[in-house]
Point group: D3
Chain length 286, copies 6
């Protein structure tokens, strides 16, 4: 897993534990004596890419620092299903209290890594990179983006500050004020931090020359046909990077990549996640 700010990780885990556990676990509290210990294995039920192991470990540690958590794999590893990805052992009560939360994190993150991996695989012999978007679950951006990396994808902007992205609505508002696209890009260049690049969203090929003349570092080809994209890539070649965007699917991604775009951004990596089915199998008590 890429580095995640430990304070942010603590915030996310605390929020998840609080919403599940702040009133206690009435079942475990009533039934499970303190002396019972247990060992259990995280086992995926279907193939995919594992992610979130460090998050799961931190969940158990937050509730009971004496619970042991031993990963057998690392984030980004492929699983066929059926193998042990990690073993947790210690107080049964603590494991039961954390089980659902640890699984919720791992299943979502592994789901993101798995679908990302399929997109990445579809274009792996080409130079095109699969990137994510800001369409993440609210509050989970750091984890969602870490999962994309685990799946072999790359991160686009993490937030509104680490890249300029001039979209149709910015352009329309400023054109109404009398500015042309070139002027808009130059204003951005003059006003925005010099450490970030400037990306411009274009919806037709007509806008590309002005974007290039304005000095765009990246041109986003939004919702274009394959044909248009190919032309757009051609127009930009050697002058700026190109990104394809808009309703990309596993069916269409290869054809898009073959247009020669540098990046393809896929919102579905994070906005429509299918959890990877992972279970926690307890060893039979002796």
């Amino acid at each position: 897993m890429p580095f995640i700010d430990p304070i942010e990780l603590e915030r996310v885990i605390d929020a998840a534990l609080t919403e599940d556990l702040s009133g206690g676990d009435v079942t475990t509290d009533a039934l499970i004596p303190r002396h019972i210990e247990a060992t259990a294995r995280f086992v995926p039920r279907t193939p995919g890419i594992i992610a979130g192991l460090d998050v799961a470990r931190a969940v158990f540690a937050r509730v009971d620092s004496s619970v042991g958590f031993t990963p057998h794999l690392v984030d980004g590893d492929f699983v066929e299903g059926g193998e042990t990805v990690a073993i947790v052992s210690g107080s049964l009560a603590a494991i039961l209290r954390c089980e659902r939360i640890a699984l919720n994190f791992m299943q979502r993150m592994s789901g993101i890594a798995s679908i990302t991996s399929r997109f990445v695989k579809a274009v792996e012999d080409l130079d095109t990179v699969i990137v994510d978007t800001r369409k993440t679950a609210p509050g989970l951006r750091a984890l969602d983006k870490a999962a994309v990396v685990a799946g072999g994808g790359r991160n686009h902007r993490r937030n509104l500050s680490d890249g300029v992205l001039i979209k149709d609505n910015h352009i329309a508002a400023l054109q109404a004020e009398g500015l042309g696209l070139q002027q808009i890009i130059r204003r951005a260049r003059a006003q925005a931090p010099h450490t970030v690049k400037i990306e411009v969203e274009v919806e037709s090929l007509d806008e590309i020359p002005a974007a290039l003349d304005g000095g765009a570092d990246i041109v986003m080809l939004d919702n274009m046909s394959i044909e248009e994209m190919r032309s757009g890539v051609e127009m930009c070649r050697g002058r700026c990077l190109t990104e394809a965007s808009g309703n990309v699917s596993l069916e269409s991604v290869r054809e898009i990549a073959e247009t020669g775009v540098d990046m393809i951004s896929v919102g579905a990596l994070t906005h429509s996640v299918t959890a990877l089915d992972i279970g926690l199998d307890f060893e039979q008590p002796d």
Copy 2:
């Protein structure tokens, strides 16, 4: 939308805004002068059920209290796609800063409401109720569960304290200590708060008599065949509620409901969400 604790709602919105906006919005900061006002419409691109309108409203209010937000529908309404579900108007800069976050909330919540609604519809002439699970996105449980209600579903346990649910792992651990299922349920009855019901997960019909004798309020029929479920329902009739659980799909839900179970819990309502595609369409500046 059902009532959501305003402090929890503020926490969730603050987390989402912070991860996107705490470094500023370098594009809008560079380009959009303060005097520009705008009006924009939230428009779904496909059919579904709308949810999260109050959350979206609160997002804009948190960033700029002068932004107006006028819903045209309410949570739970069906949309065909193309209609206006809400209008936001005011400072263009504020709207642009909040757009993605407001959409991330609405798209996820509407996605949950939409799939819930399909499950509910599939059994609407029967007495069976569709309920959710605790397999929600970490930190978003209150919103995920509100979205299920918007889609016509009912909520199962919100957390580990508002219901006893004795699962296979509780039972196995206590059987290793020499307790039978009846004794386990009676211990729960004696120890747990008297205001919550006791649900027992059974994986074979053999366990049902002991569950009933122990006094279970609800029996969860876990991963059973249709045939078994029908028998299980029969055994429990008049003595306790029954819940079907385990890999329920839109294809199988009706057949399951026809066994006569009182509830069917569906993890996929919240663990594998397909966002409803909703856009924010700005009116053309004059």
Copy 3:
């Protein structure tokens, strides 16, 4: 002590330490050199039930993880007064900084446990259970309720989500809308989560038949005479649980229990706490 969510425990301890210590401890800072070590004993001055040992331990650990805390008893133990319940040793400065906060927690929790224990003792040969209420000190509910358990009591609803309790004001408002009590209970059954029970507050015997017909799981007999309670219990026998409520005292609790009610809720367990007098006795420096 029953399990307390570690995040909630940290929140409570941090709030208490912050309000006492955030400006420093000007006396200790001025006077006590770092090298001085000390050992001190928590000693109750009067008989009672001890509670809050784990909380006291956590207070010292939060300020100085090198301070040792060794309990000699466990929560729920009876003390005569004069015995050592725990020993703390380490940096004198750290112990002095935490002393008052650790005592404030233990004294309140032990006070709650002690009075609870007296109520429980008064009815211990009967089948009636003593339960608490939501009349707890704001922000301290988890600890107040843990102390009730340490004293041998049981917890009623922890909050507004783990049980339906239909009170006079709900009923009056809905009757004004034209609903009868049976309809009200059925609406609750249809709308509330199926995992929680439905309790109905009745103020006269006349209301009991409708409550039973509506399907109440529990009937609360509110502020009734002993005579009425006895009749109420009779009416409910075999159909639902009964709870006595309203100005219960040590003098009256046994007579109430002898009516056969299943539970007696006592607000005074937590709303009017007499702290157990506990001191921290330092061993004489050599």
Copy 4:
């Protein structure tokens, strides 16, 4: 009510609301339609002093800013019981969700104010002042101390930074290092902020001369007999303030005050609170 830092007030109210309401109010959610409005009166059932009106107001405002709250009295007013101290009106659902929390605050604060008032009354013709201690409910110090003021008492140290208080344990530890009481006080004078006074706890009259010579601003006469206190006051007259401390009761307070001490500190004002019984009476719906 004295000024309370609004950020601290928000923290306290949020903690109280969160622990009660974060999972929703399943009863009100199920039963009370949004359109129902109500009016209710806060009415004490017994005589006492009212405190916490602003806190109650803030509770309702936090959950629903459209709820109206009109106090008829102010903090510190005496009530006989039966009169209206405040009226709340607006959404019935919001009022029901907040009722218990608002009452928990007012009942505790009014209980503190009421007992304080009885101590104050007992000595009102004398020059002795009744002061509180740091024996407050964890997390509620600001409110507990505000309630003491409402009852006519004065505040002692709010925390460990707004006064030096050299206690027996400080003295014993430093004497073991070879320092005399005079030296200890002088070290405190030299090291502690010059804006706070230095109070010294003495347990026998023998220690007073050294305390005076060291320059104590206040001498605390701890657990002394009336006789000793009278002598202690005499010894300190004109040189420093005197404070009586230790197991002060309503029975003993006047006799203690008649020794001429300047202040009497009473831990029981806040560590053993009897809540004032206050109810919320809803007006009958038309």
Copy 5:
């Protein structure tokens, strides 16, 4: 003032108010009756650039929303000293409680804006831009950076995520692993988000060719002589931006700018701030 995330602004203001006000304001509480109103003017005592007006406004609003705050100038305006920059009016007690905190914010921010402005003025006829660094007061980065903008400067990286900056220590560690500078830059290009630029710190002219060949977007000329810088700028011209860094002073900045560097980063803008002397002058009560 540039946009500041309102949640971050609230956090900063709450921290400042809490550390000053959480124990109350014993002077104002004791002396100032509630009915007294006042009006006061923020007046700088010396020339400079004003910044922080919106922050000051928010401080008063947080404590008492009825206090009026009317700015006469905007952030970035030059003051000679003696003029009114803003008027605050309302409850005297509230104004006194907030005075120091509001001034602490404005004085620091105005101090930063003022010194920035002097650097900017020194090079205003040249094409060189003055930028800040990450050497800000811990917890105040958003405000420190906003103040630099108010003074006419530009912001460098806000944090570790909105730009790649390969420093000497990164290079040394990787060279020890056998990588050359070109390879290092290419690894960064391949791994880091494509939306941020890559800046490379060079300490001698020898490193520049490899930096250019590796594809650096910006070359930082660190602690070079004027002569070296001029050569460095020449080598980079047309291929990447250049930034001068290291102990820049008002005396040296113009000579550095005349080398033709694109940016000069000045740590002293924020790490060694001289507060602008601003007073709050109360109008005489009538």
Copy 6:
């Protein structure tokens, strides 16, 4: 370093780390493999007083508990420049992520300690004490005040609750209500906590007699000439402490001290800090 509440320290460090690191460190993430270890030395570049070592240690520990931090000096030690004040060793990535934040804390705190030390030295043979003010960086008061102590200074009020300070604006407002200075001081004595002293700001010698008669514990001589101060000190001798305030500089401080004032408060210790230049020198990798 004097004791700092660990909860406050955690808050400050978390705020600083969050604003720098919450989006990750894109440079280190891209370049530095996990296996690389490093050792680095904190080395001041110029003479001064070191402060903040414990804060720096806590920064590294928060991000990676396996990083070792070994101080060679303690807070308050003088450095010539060039010596090692502490060594940090462990994961290179962790050290790089924390470097700037650790330095920002140490440089500011050491800057405060250093300038304080110069003021203290200037009067070290006299009885006058150098004290700080509340003019600290918002959110950093505890650290700023600890740094003053490290530099040999003393702390004035930490906040608005640990001392009464009656300033010109309090006096003017109350005089407009008809109160004289004596009455004002007596009201403060009667209303404020008895554990704090009362300081009165006077702007002319005429006010001193009333201040003394009212019973001021401390008289602040604000913005007076040396001549006036000398007279003021004479008038107060034996009756109260005196404090000089207002635009004190290194040039004027000795002359002021020679008037015999007990304390001189210097706002510039904390409001206009020149950071001590400290670097982190990595040992060459082998």
